[in-house]
Amino acid sequence: MADNLEALVDANGSETIAGVVVEPMQGSAGVIVPPHGYLKKLRSICDAHQILLIFDEVITGFGRLGEWFAADRFGVIPDMIICAKGVISGVVPLGGVIVRDSIYNEIMVGPSHLVEFFHGYTNSGHPLACAAGISAINVYESEGLLAKSSKLEIELEKAIHSLRDEAHVVDIRNIGMAVAIEFETRNNQISMRVMEIFQYCFDHGVMIRYTGDIIAIGPALVCDETEIEAIIETIRSAIRAIA
């Protein structure tokens, strides 16, 4: 599958390609988990052609996969990591790009009294966001939430796959604290079934997410097993209540 990148590079000329941007696990599309070896192969093709590899870890970063980053989980180091969401535990808006030394150093050139990179936001490094981020990282470390996430992953996997034989379920995908259940489309109306499942769950005290014909769940790392059970059983009841 990663050979597709080689094919694209051959067809278009590697010398025109600046970078490859991928989510190590595609979250918004419904928890699409990379096959074994896929990211390693992307890394080696990028290396061969001096193409930058950029991991979008907005969802996968900060413990969602039981490690600080998917790069750690999958053993592949990109040239840049895009992050947000978990870095501040949602408390104050913040995002970041973590950059390899060689990229930074290449841009830090020219007369030193002049701006090197003409880019930045009014709220880059906002004091409240930084305070939240420093504290969130500290909480993840001091409360052992990454290790907790790894343990919970096992429970979550077992629980979510127990829905396999429920009506209209066509796929279940999981990694870390990220799970998706894909359903058959009903009457060619994309999202109708999962919207009803979402509403049922909400009415019965559980907030999930839906997109296309997929429902997704991604509980916080402070979750416990009874909460995982409550989530799964509410989803099960929803599936059984909805046509």
């Binding site: 907005v58 980053f69 880019h119 930084c130 066509v170």
Partner: protein
Amino acid sequence: MSLELEPFWMPFTHNRMFKKSPRLIERGEGMHYQTSDGHRVLDAISGLWCSNAGHRHPKIVQAVKDQLDELDFTAPFQSGHPKAFMLAEAIKKISPAGLNHVFLTSSGSEACDTALKIALAYHHSTGEVQRTRFVGHEKGYHGVGFGGISVGGIDANKKAFKASLLPGTLHLPHTHNLSKMAFSKGQPV
């Protein structure tokens, strides 16, 4: 409570349907929300994949409150404050080896567009000015900036903007093969 719903244009939402029958969250703590009509809801999605430490974690809340007692805002250009440097160092310490510099933004969307500009600036500096194209994935989501939707692969997010996307962006097929991978646990083979 009488709340005027119409002026707020909600993001990624069916505005008309929602405003007929709104679901409003008013409070949050740990794994739970409380709605405007007093119902308790278990948050199974960490807000939107964000609240990994749960809602209103007391240490994070206190850190923000303490910060408000010191400094609310200062110019980020040609001036600095210690917390930005401390956060960048904290991120560096937990990042993979060799990734030692952090550019801060207000969102993932901004971070993605920033990464694309950093990549272009890098190649520009090395003299490889012809390296201007990016490769994304089908079904990829990289926020909603013009850069992010260009490298992203979700058609609904790009449909109305096709004439204004970054030129020459390429897309890899996504890796999901339902017939071969259905019900995989963790990484498919």
